[in-house]
């Protein structure tokens, strides 16, 4: 063999990967950070300086607190450490304060919080089946660690753009009753709550004793109580909910997430242009508001019916209902649950209201777990991850970060392609030629959007065209992955009894 060191209990490669990615994150401390950086600084300040009763009412800054209470408590805890770095960042009126010490502290807090994510990944790897005697680079646990720890999306969103997703994913992956904790930390996890809820109910509550049901129920209720309690006592629950779910915002985020509504918008635009051209529509009667204008503008569709928040909710529920029904009917153990989880996340991403394209990570990360286990899932994973990660490119629009995002994207893509190909050596290619062509099409798309288009005349008149192109192109890939996932869920009904050797 090529690895000469004895492999008695050699987990050192895990620490090597973890340390390596942490070093990379440290080097990126000075990179561009988005307004989310100021958002979190503001939350540090307001949780530190204001009493609890004011947290969800404070509005000095435009970035009001819009995460559930447990996250607010987390920021409160962090603020006590922040004191040692720079007290000025904790002053609420210090809008856009970003001294070097502040940047260092905030970046380090994300990096350190990720340690919790590392722990979860380590535990995850224990669940994978291992072949003895396989060389390190071909081991599923090594590949999974690489796919999760060095995930391009997490690196870009957490460590450059600035967020705390990795730390939150820990809870998502590890605990069973986590949906509750998650719901209390970041309500985006409502996307996957149905999956957890149905699965837990199905597996634990109706097959085992009532004691389990009672315990689960108590845990759920008590966590909610602790987290939301103070706010309910103060009678602020409506205010908190209105901050958490701001339905005043538009159907699409400023950067369109590559979901169904992006395709819907484009279709609407195309029909309206064609309609005007063929004199079917009167141009003066068309609504003027732009779909791509601003962060919080609402808009009307011209030809197709307008979409309301309720409509998106119904669509989302309809899209995930079959999957929920499937695992209710026949829970396939952990794998079935994970598959349903991914579908719930992806369904909510596809049909949700004001979806941010970062939400694609909610589907990609759990799918990594499935990818190292089955060939079909590996193929779907490659499609979804490359497309989903590429759709994150507009988040980093500065010239300085352009090489970084290209290098990291290539790094992750090559790693996932090569390692999954090695893992599933037997049985042909992971991707069919059509899929490969589609993915290769991302290269000319990138060249056009970032290199060619800015040099043309249209940059001034249609500045949003590259974004639109990116969203629409990626939406095709994401939709395709969604359909294939559903297909694999609905057709794997007869593998419940067989051992999972694919």
């Amino acid at each position: 063999t090529v690895m000469a060191a004895p492999m008695t209990n050699d987990q050192s490669w895990f620490y090597a990967l973890a340390l390596g990615v942490s070093f990379l994150k440290c080097l990126l401390i000075n990179a561009y950070h988005s307004t989310d950086f100021e958002v979190h600084r503001n939350w540090l300040a307001l949780t530190h300086s204001l009493p609890v009763s004011q947290w969800y009412y404070e509005a000095t800054s435009e970035w009001t607190l819009d995460y559930p209470p447990l996250f607010a408590w987390f920021e409160y805890g962090l603020s006590h450490i922040a004191c040692f770095f720079d007290k000025e960042m904790l002053v609420v009126p210090n809008l856009n304060y970003a001294s070097p010490a502040t940047v260092l502290f905030q970046r380090l807090s994300v990096i350190v919080a990720d340690v919790v994510f590392f722990y979860a990944v380590k535990e995850c790897c224990k669940c994978l089946r291992e072949d003895k005697g396989k060389d390190l680079l071909g081991k599923p646990s090594f590949i999974l660690t690489g796919l999760l720890l060095w995930n391009f999306g997490l690196l870009i969103v957490d460590h450059i753009h600035f967020q705390y997703n990795g730390f939150l994913k820990f809870i998502g992956i590890y605990f069973v009753c986590v949906c509750v904790l998650l719901l209390n930390l970041k309500h985006i996890y409502l996307y996957i709550a149905p999956a957890y809820g149905i699965y837990l109910l199905r597996c634990f509550c109706f097959t085992q004793s009532n004691a389990v049901l009672v315990t689960l129920g108590t845990i759920v209720l008590s966590t909610f109580a602790v987290s939301f309690g103070p706010f309910i006592a103060l009678g602020q629950l409506p205010q908190v909910l209105s901050r958490l779910f701001p339905f005043k915002r538009g159907l699409c985020h400023a950067y369109w997430a590559p979901n169904i509504w992006a395709l819907y918008n484009i279709a609407d635009k195309a029909f309206s242009i064609l309609g005007v051209k063929f004199r079917l529509l009167d141009i003066n009667k068309l609504p003027k508001a732009s779909m791509t204008g601003g962060l919080v503008q609402e808009f009307q569709h011209s030809v197709l019916p307008s979409v309301s928040p309720l409509a998106t909710l119904v669509c989302t529920l309809l899209s995930i209902l079959p999957a929920l029904f499937k695992i209710w009917h026949r829970p396939n153990g952990a794998r079935g649950f994970l598959r349903c989880l991914v579908i719930c996340a992806l369904g909510s991403f596809m049909f949700g209201w004001h979806v941010h394209e970062k939400a694609i990570l909610m589907a990609i990360l759990p799918l990594s777990l499935l990818a190292v286990d089955s060939r079909k899932d590996a193929g779907i994973f490659l499609m979804l991850s490359v497309t989903g990660h590429y759709s994150l490119f507009p988040l980093l629009f500065t010239t300085q970060e352009l090489p970084i995002k290209i290098f990291l994207m290539l790094l992750f893509t090559i790693f996932s392609l090569a390692s999954l190909k090695t893992l599933f050596r037997k049985g042909g290619a992971l991707l069919n030629p059509l899929e490969v062509t589609y993915l290769l099409g991302l290269i000319p798309l990138e060249l056009i959007c970032e290199f060619v288009y800015p040099l043309t005349v249209w940059q001034k008149t249609f500045p949003f065209l590259p974004l639109m192109l990116t969203s629409v192109y990626c939406a095709l890939g994401v939709t395709y992955a969604f359909i294939r996932l559903y297909n694999s869920l609905l057709t794997c009904s007869d593998t419940t009894k067989k051992t999972k050797m694919q």
Binding site: V2, M3, Q400, A418
Partner: protein, 475 residues
Amino acid sequence: MENWSLFSLCVLLGLTSRWAVSFHSYSGAGKPPMFGDYEAQRHWQEVTYNLPVHEWYFNTTNNDLNYWGLDYPPLTAYHSLVCAYVAKLLNPEWVELHASRGYESHSHKLFMRATVLFTDILIYIPAVLLYCFYFCDGSSKQKVATALCILLYPGLILIDYGHFQYNSVSLGLALWGILGLGLGWDLFGSLAFTLALNYKQMELYHSLPFFCYLLGKCIKQGLTGRGFFQLAKISLTVLVTFALCWMPFLSDPKQPLQVLHRLFPFGRGLFEDKVANTWCSLNVLIKIKTLLSRETQLFLSFALTLLFILPSSLKLLSKPNLWQFKLALVNSSLAFFLFSFQVHEKSILLAALLMFFLFVFFHSMLPLLVKDGLLLPYVVTSLAFLFLSLYLLSHLTRTNEPLFWYFPFHFWFSLVAMAVLSFTSVWLEPPAKFPDLFPVLVSILSFLHFLGFIIYFNLVQLMEPQRKKSQKKTN
């Protein structure tokens, strides 16, 4: 995983670290009136673009040699000219004669950093990949690990992408030269090395081994037969390359003299700043700078350099094989660094190219990096490099490398000493009587290491018989 994917992952990791380091500060940022090496490079673009060739190295009204006058050979000047053409396309203000002095902006910084990345990708990185592929022994995984370690070497990254220089060009060309010689393409190797020499005169440190190796090889082939023709071909290649590079300067006899005067400033003292070589360290005990006259200093440094370089070169001459060649490169560059005149800290990069004990050399640059505001990248890259190389080394070596484990106690002791020194130089205030205490300590500690290395490597080269090929892999 296939080889090509592993190698591309290494390259991408190397490129990402380089570009991430480039986000940080550069030499002389925001420090008028002189600024630093970054401004020097920009200024050379300005000078080469706006002035005719015969004025580049001369003190004229338009060209003030006191403000970062050109002091590298012509190839650097041509490179700056090419960059200047690109700069002019993007923003003419960057190379405006006189008006662009001290120009600093975010987009300009991006441009300058991009030029370094471009030449790196073009010259240095392919050379490293080819070197690891063809000249490293062991399994493909060991080759990939070596490539990763070399590409992540913090010294080069921080000097080129932090402080700001173009060492990757000259080192890359020198590496192509070594590759050429290793593959038996002597002409190509000589060409590449001559170009390296014409880019930075520091490559003189490596010139003697190249010379002795090629001469020795020709002598072995018989000076009356094939060897003579080979020697003639090589000499012709070298001379023609020199002529082509210096062509614009050959019209007037004053020109080459002036260029040489700029390249070898014997007018300046024995050393500047705090460098980890003999003279700086000796100066702590005896003030040689003031004690000896300049001629004596020159003679002394020349004599000692020659003394230390002679045994290694003679051995190579008598036994011209690749293993001896590599050792001679190490010894020669160390000798020049330790004993010659007007050495800068960055000169140590040349010895570092081939040695594994890169960490010590990197550490010796600490004072310079702290001055440039590059402390964070320094800490991160050195820890990463140290950890990575130790990890990979312990996992991939089958035999106990005598080179590495010969001084185990000393190795760990050095590491601790360096860590302690790094920590103290940043966090503690030096006593008022000795304001330069920490940089001097760093220099002295590094000097002692280098002295140890040169003695050790000379012993290795001179004493042992033919070593087996497997032990070359530490390089």
